[in-house]
Symmetry: C2
């Protein structure tokens, strides 16, 4: 991929889902020109914009201005930032805002924010009038390359993360790459874990390219746009092949079963661990566990760990600040994870870099022994 020609500043990735197909637009300046892109695709003239305090402070005014200038009558709701917002408590006012705005069939709900706002707003759009049109304007790298694409929406439950939600595809995704310049390095790195994931799932060339070019991706410009577009295309391909996660889509959970358990173990406290960091540690664990099960070479696990460490991501449970609960508690979280079938544990394992697969018969005893070894205590 090193020889690929310089990309144009703006890229479009199409998610092919028959009559629910949609475009992901990637490039600078898309928030300011959002209304043009929306108005050229939707006939409706009413919108409800949902955002959080942090993102809203920077980008809500320009977006509302853009909508008003195009004759779109928009209302907005600003929610607290953070994972705790993915709850029934905040879902209710989002639904009432949408219904109060009398969003009709050609109007739309707009999520302006990161994964939390996108998941929450998408869920509300999916259930308001049994499904309203929905536009994602993701403002974190993680949301741009992962959560804004593919239609998984939802909130958290006391029983676990993302356990309540619907599949509801957006009608349009606007990934404004300018906003990434304002992310903290930690937040950018966390999103990068999901970028690397696409290489590890089934694109070894992309992982090679990332190893060689990650500094350029972090610096911004064309390499970053290229990495985002490649990631979105990878996700779009998987979603088009298996929208409802009956098979191949489960590969996108590489690193996520361990990662979700670690997020639960740290009470979703973002000061200790954010989602992408959990995924980074989870991907290393998945590669190590695969090596331990004699499925892959330990060298691949070492290579994955070295790259994620290079970019500054945590790669071991011991990298998480503070004490972790015992292995039994982690196993409970793993068993409550969505990817359970008839009591058997389902994991995404790998035969090497870019050779991941769904294993739905992983013995719990092996996972427990492995976690006992990895646990920092």
């Amino acid at each position: 991929m090193n020889s690929r020609a310089i990309v144009k500043p703006k890229r479009t990735v199409r998610v092919e889902l028959a009559d629910r197909s949609y475009d992901i637009l990637i490039g600078p300046g898309l928030i300011a020109s959002a209304a043009n892109e929306i108005a050229s695709r939707l006939k409706g003239r009413r919108m409800a914009v949902i955002t959080d305090e942090n993102v809203g402070a920077r980008y809500l005014a320009p977006l509302m201005d853009s909508l008003a200038a195009s004759g779109i009558d928009a209302v907005s709701l600003v929610l607290p930032a953070g994972e705790k917002t993915k709850s029934f408590e905040h879902l209710i006012p989002v639904c009432e805002t949408i219904l109060g705005a009398r969003i009709e069939r050609n109007d739309a709900v707009i999520a302006l924010g990161g994964g939390v706002i996108g998941d929450l707003t998408g869920f509300a759009a999916g259930i308001a009038r049994r499904g309203s049109r929905f536009i994602q304007i993701p403002t974190s790298l993680l949301a741009q390359v992962d959560s804004s694409v593919g239609g998984k929406t939802g909130i958290n439950s006391p029983h676990g993360k993302n356990l309540i939600g619907v599949f509801h595809q957006p009608d349009l995704v606007l990934a404004d790459t300018d906003v990434l310049d304002t992310l903290s390095p930690r937040e950018f790195r966390a999103g990068y874990a999901e970028v690397a994931k696409y290489g590890l799932i089934d694109k070894p060339d992309f992982f090679d390219w990332l190893e060689a070019n990650w500094r350029a991706v972090f610096a911004g410009g064309d390499a970053r746009i290229e990495a985002i577009a490649t990631s979105c295309q990878a996700k779009a391909d998987v979603v088009a092949a298996d929208e409802r996660e009956n098979g191949r889509r489960a590969l996108l959970n590489l690193g996520h079963t361990f990662g979700h358990a670690l997020e639960a173990a740290t009470q979703y406290d973002g000061s200790r661990l954010v989602h992408g960091e959990g995924v980074a540690i989870g991907m290393v664990l998945a590669h190590r566990f695969s090596a331990r099960m004699n499925l892959a070479s330990p060298d691949d696990a070492a290579r994955v760990e070295a790259h994620l460490k290079d970019v500054g991501l945590p790669t071991r449970m011991g990298d998480i600040p503070g004490a972790l609960p015992p292995v039994g508690t982690l196993m409970d979280a793993i068993a409550q994870d969505k990817k359970v079938k008839g009591g058997q544990l389902t994991f995404i394992l790998t035969r090497g870099i870019g050779r991941s697969f769904v294993a739905d018969d992983v013995p719990a005893s092996e996972v427990i022994r492995f976690l006992e070894e990895m646990h920092p205590r």
Copy 2:
């Protein structure tokens, strides 16, 4: 239809929806034999049963006994009876009960109750783990012939009825006709309004048959089972043709736009008006309005009113006890109803008995003038 042979005591209606097709079983004794029917269709051995205080007092124990005897591990949740239970307040504990029971992909959530329990539980099943298997055991006539079939689920909002929900088809519907013997006459009549609706939509022969046989339907036995099976088949046909209500399914809303507005106008106070009664008045209004628009003969409206009055249903706004709000308030409720597109009012109108159609360009001014005339003041 008068010449139809005596029906067998148990009938099966199939809802054809490709890989989501399912059976509606109709007949006596189905609650006591529920576990057999479930176990022969689903591999899972964990169930969560949701019911209300009234239905639960009679039927929860026999159902739980039946499940336990078949080796099914079931938990139950009993909610307050009444329309107010269709709210976020009660949705949350239903979701948590389902998640706490660790319902997996082959297990199921069971709704044991009328339309309120079915709509609420179906919604929770539709969003728990982004979709869990779901069994309807409808215990009212209305639920057996209408709400338990077709996958519309949801709760009410302060903005209107059923405005928040999902399409989520059941895996099985068990309509135990024994339970109908314990309904109050008023509740049975309310369900009967939906039975008559199928005749009025597109089955004039069925409406003729009901005019001749309604006393036998009310008395129970084969005529009642025949009426339920014909109604379920009518609904199944419409749902199979248009699951997501992009077209023909809207016909099922005959009488519902006016009916919902009247329910809202009476604050969903079941002592004044229950859903089926609102539909009865709404169907008469739809036929009268169609006559007023010179679409149908006033004789048809008179015939519909005469039949519904014969069975003891209210047919005019003035039949509702207590004062109604002014026409402006009713119009607001109509405009907030789901069947709105680009500000135009959508109504189900008719060219005569069994000749209903979707009119999506009804001028609000005509509806206001009509309501002014009909309003009892």
